[in-house]
């Protein structure tokens, strides 16, 4: 297990907090809490060690498109990059409901 921390520039706080996903095989859980405009802070706890660069790339791409100012807690159980991106987008969508 490995814990990773990232920060990205972000200027749009989401309307409200959101929770999606489950810490199950090939999946992850995301807790998103709105923060003041400025940064998106991401803490990743992942069951798979050694993928720091992949995480950075996946998250960089997401936050380049969605500048969501929030604290993100990701509890990952081996999700692929595609699943991570889908869950992030789902969290943003949920908060707009």
């Amino acid at each position: 297990m490995q814990t990773l921390n990232f920060e990205f520039p972000a200027d749009r706080p989401p309307p409200r907090r959101a929770h999606v996903g489950v810490v199950g095989s090939g999946d992850l859980e995301i807790l998103m809490t709105p923060e003041p405009p400025g940064t998106a802070r991401v803490r990743v706890r992942t069951s798979v060690d050694g993928f720091d660069t992949v995480w950075r790339t996946v998250l960089e791409r997401f936050f380049a498109r969605h500048r969501v100012a929030a604290a993100f807690e990701l509890n990952d159980f081996g999700a692929t990059p595609g699943v991570v991106t889908l869950r992030l987008r789902q969290a943003v969508e949920e908060s707009r409901r």
């Binding site: 297990m1 907090r17 929770h19 489950v22 810490v23 199950g24 095989s25 999946d27 859980e29 807790l31 809490t33 706890r45 992942t46 069951s47 807690e73 509890n75 990952d76 159980f77």
Partner: protein, 299 residues
């Protein structure tokens, strides 16, 4: 639409299967909400309370923010109810210190509310392999607390157990299932104290072949458990059918005598089985139907 219960041995009713909305395909939070009346669900100790297990991270296991147990209060056909759902995708539904205490506390609070003039029914969604190995002793201790709180509540209000999925309900939590006022199960569901793989690894493949699915379901499966009276209601894996079955169980109220109190009957059943020449699973219901408690072993 209310789906008919599946025939125990009959042909599969495909139209019913195609028309249904699978209950077990929902995640635990959605299952709990689906049982309650629309718009009444309110989660207690949710993900943002961050009451996760403190024991997993030091052992290199990623925790989940709700520790895999979702407690939702609301109304069931207008009556106050609490639904406690175990998320089987997280650690195989394994019960640890936090998740176990969440279940026990929810049952105790329902008992307190029931005594204080708000009768509160409890529904347990038991998709679990039992105690989580990473929290072995603490998990076992909380299962004892769960059983104790369940016994406290079931004297006042029905406690309804549901086993919907193929993961089944095993280990310590199968004891809690056995204590429920009514136990609802699907044909895909399984119930047993030790799971097939545990039996195979402890007693050998000759005792129980954990790769033989037909054998496993003929013993642990929902149809067999209902036929032999160890579960009460066999339902189709469908949201509407499940909700109807739970409401019916609630309306039946507290049973005069719980299954787990019928010791004489259970003892007679054990005596009716010869371990050197055990009956075939299909014959067990008939063997047990003739098992009569001895004089002096009746309530």
């Amino acid at each position: 639409m209310t789906s008919p219960p599946p025939a125990a041995d009959g042909p599969t009713d495909w139209t019913a299967i195609l028309a249904r909305t699978g209950f077990i395909e929902l995640d635990a939070r959605a299952r709990a909400t689906a049982l309650l009346d629309d718009g009444t669900a309110r989660e207690l100790c949710g993900p943002f309370d961050r009451i996760e297990s403190p024991w997993l991270e030091p052992q290199g296991v990623v925790p989940q923010s709700d520790d895999g147990v979702i407690v939702v209060k609301g109304r069931l056909d207008g009556r106050p109810a609490v639904v406690i759902a175990i998320e089987q995708a997280f650690q195989g539904g394994g019960i640890g210190e936090v998740s176990g205490v969440k279940i026990a506390a929810a049952l105790s609070l329902a008992a307190r509310d029931s005594r204080d003039g708000t009768p509160t029914v409890a529904v347990l969604l038991l998709e679990t392999g039992g105690v989580r190995l990473q929290e072995a002793n603490l998990g076992l201790a909380t299962v004892a607390e769960v059983c104790s709180a369940l016994l406290e509540l079931r004297a006042l209000q029905p406690v309804i157990g549901v086993i919907a999925g193929t993961l089944g309900c095993f280990g310590g939590m199968s004891i809690a299932a056995g204590l429920c006022s009514t136990l609802i199960i699907t044909a895909e569901g399984r119930l047993g104290l030790d799971g097939p793989q545990v039996i195979e690894s402890e007693a050998g493949v000759a005792e129980f072949d954990a790769s033989d699915h037909t054998l496993i379901w003929s013993i642990d499966g929902g149809a067999q458990r209902t036929r032999t009276g160890l579960a009460d209601v066999l339902v189709l894996d469908d949201v509407t059918a499940m909700r109807s079955a739970v409401i019916e169980a609630m309306e039946r109220g507290v049973p005069g005598e719980h299954r787990s109190r019928r010791i004489g009957e259970l003892r007679a059943r054990l005596e009716a089985v010869d371990p050197t020449d055990p009956p075939a699973p299909a014959d067990l219901a008939a063997v047990w139907a003739h098992a009569v408690p001895r004089e002096g072993d009746r309530p």
